[in-house]
Amino acid sequence: MRKYSVFAVAREAMRGHRGWEAQWTSPEPRKEYDVIIIGAGGHGLGTAYYLAKEHGITNIAVLEKGWLGGGNTGRNTTIIRSNYLYDESAGIYDHALKLWDDLSQDLNYNVMYSARGVMMLSHNIHDQQVFKRHIHANRLNGIDNEWLTPEQAKEFCPPLDISRTARYPINGAALQRRGGTARHDAVAWGYARAAADRGVHIIQNCEVTGLRRHANGAIAGVETNRGYIGAKKVGVVAAGHTSVLMEMADVRMPLVSYPLQALVSEPVKPIFPCVVMSNTVHAYISQSDKGELVIGAGTDQYSSYSQTGGLQIITHTLDAICELFPIFRRMKMMRSWGGIVDVTPDRSPILAKTPVPGLYVNCGWGTGGFKATPGSANVFAHTIANDAPHRINAPFTLERFRTGRLIDEAAAAAVAH
């Protein structure tokens, strides 16, 4: 792999950009791999990358039903933060945030991580109490989070309407300065390029149709639309379709899949300096480097695999955005889309071994998986390589729904689910 650098850009500029090579290859699948990862999104590609980089396993295939990064990795609102309430969540999300810091250098790929600050608006006394509890809990876990007065919030984000007559009055905000955004596609592409460079096979348009098992129950390989591929270990990283895949191994999951929608406006000059979220009025917003306002909401009301969602959900979100930021009332919205998110009963992910030997699952990220991409991939690779969880993902088992040791972030996550 030829390294990307300012010199490479200069060299290619001199010779008409004819020397750039493909970022990853599309090899024919081998008959058998040490590890197969199902799902070439950020989490899946990242898992393959860390398996190759940190655990010396390079005989890996990442299988993708559609195109690389075309699922929720390409459909989210790119927000990164780690201000979760419970110790377990703080552990995994802050592990991710630390990896975001130098991910571009690590991958030699500009993922455009921008720590521009994530501000959560408080509209009433209950929000205020919850956020202050979060702030104190975060600080005990060494995670930055601070309380802002309405005036300080306005100073941090000038377009915000903090007037007393506002439809949704603001009585303060919680700010995580290390939070921000990253370029979602670049995360998938960067991991794909870096993994392929270490010998990982990325096989797109390869849909898994069955999971084959040995007589003793252990995983033997996967049936695909491109034939059978053997595997010693299989990691399912399939977001909304996890239940469908796990059913092929007779494992019922504590998951329900919902559409989660997002939309972007026409591109405009830089106007919005940070990320703002409001869980009380169901809206979050940031501005991409292209200039589009990126806007998201809560999930749709009913479970579905439709990858679209109801129009009333996004109009409700835009109502809230227009009230919070009156300057955006005349903005035109350009595109909207839906991704299918897999939601667990306690709103915390599952990164764990399964009852099937050799089968591992990374799912249940619900509405907030993008921010965790590097951390999730990192500890999931550890889990697969060692057949045992990393200290950080040890609490995120599948068995917790039997033992009752839930990580109940439902009330703690920033946007209402």
Binding site: V244, Q301, Y302, S303, Q312, T403
Partner: protein, 114 residues
């Protein structure tokens, strides 16, 4: 926006009046104190999360307020049929798929008028 037929009101109303209320035909155990952890997990937490035809409970929240059951395709979001709570799973194969001709939607009646 979907139109959903409420079997109690006996009319189609906008989906805004309804709320999904989880899987249908789950029998609530009467011996919950004697159940094993595995049985409780299967009843309370594990879900089929079907991609395709699913049977689920809906509530006409901003209407009659009653719970009923529906058979719905989770890929197209199309309601195959709705039926009153307590009734057994309908045999879908005998039902004609809902079309504009069989469901009295605004679009269907409009196009007929033309």
């Amino acid at each position: 926006m979907l139109l959903i037929y409420c079997p109690y009101c006996e009319e189609e109303r906008s989906e805004l009046e309804f709320r999904q209320a989880g899987d249908a035909h789950i029998a609530r155990p009467t011996n919950m104190t004697e159940m094993t952890d595995e049985e409780f997990e299967a009843f309370f937490f594990l879900r089929d999360n079907v991609k395709g035809l699913t049977y689920e409970r809906w509530r006409h929240l901003n209407g009659c307020g009653r719970f009923f059951n529906a058979a719905r395709d989770t890929v197209s979001d199309k309601f195959v049929t709705t039926y009153k709570a307590g009734l057994p799973k309908p045999d879908i194969s005998t039902l004609r798929p809902a079309t504009e001709a069989t469901v009295e939607t605004y679009e269907a009646t409009e196009s007929n008028a033309k």
